[in-house]
Symmetry: C2
Subunit: 129 residues, 2 copies
């Protein structure tokens, strides 16, 4: 398969696939004309990567997960550990964003939003937290 077909199957941009090759996540063969040739297993890996990325795993996490995926003698504990650590990161980010949302929505509520210059949002920003 050529890259275009694979891109459709794995639902990934062509550029991303080339990038994943560049950083060693996949290793497609080459045809004599220089075109990449993908096997079924490459499509599986790309699908896997796309899904993992959509769950927010970093590329390095993906690399580790992919190795476990391909390793028949893995321990599910290793997978779970990566997932748990990532979940903790996600929860931390959610908390951070919720704090921002809270502050911001209070400020927005307090702001009249008319054509006068007086603005509690700017007043707050000018204050050291």
């Amino acid at each position: 398969m050529n890259i275009g077909e694979v891109a459709k199957m794995a639902e990934l941009p062509i550029k991303t696939i080339r990038y994943y090759e560049e950083i060693g996540l996949i290793k497609p063969k080459r045809s004599t004309n220089g075109y990449r040739i993908f096997r079924e297993s490459d499509v599986h890996k790309l699908t896997f990567l796309g899904r993992a990325r959509s769950l927010g795993f970093s590329i390095e996490d993906c690399r580790a997960l992919l190795q476990l995926y391909e390793n028949a003698t893995r321990s599910s504990a290793d997978v779970k550990k990566i997932a748990q650590e990532h979940l903790a990161c996600i929860e931390a980010k959610i908390k951070e964003l919720q704090a921002m949302r809270s502050t911001l929505s209070h400020l927005i509520e307090a702001c009249s939003g008319d054509d006068r210059p007086n603005c509690p949002i700017l007043s707050d920003l000018a204050t050291l937290s």
Copy 2:
């Protein structure tokens, strides 16, 4: 004031302050020896920037907010608009992260996390969403 002192007052890294000058957010004067000289107003601006960044505003938002901050004839409506748009971004991100959290925590629950290879997390990742 020199940059070190300002960095302490505004609670920002020196590198960040130099970067903010580079992108035109602040314009400190220079001493004959080449050192940057900061006025009170620069410290105010930097404090403002630090606080705005901590609320997640992008640099370009910060630039716009700073201009409004310095413009005595601004309309609070303009400020509010920027803040509301940013709030919408934050809320979208929270939703996205919550969806990830939901999926991920279910997968983690389903994974035994022992030394056997069987793993619902990997099975899920291998499936097109």
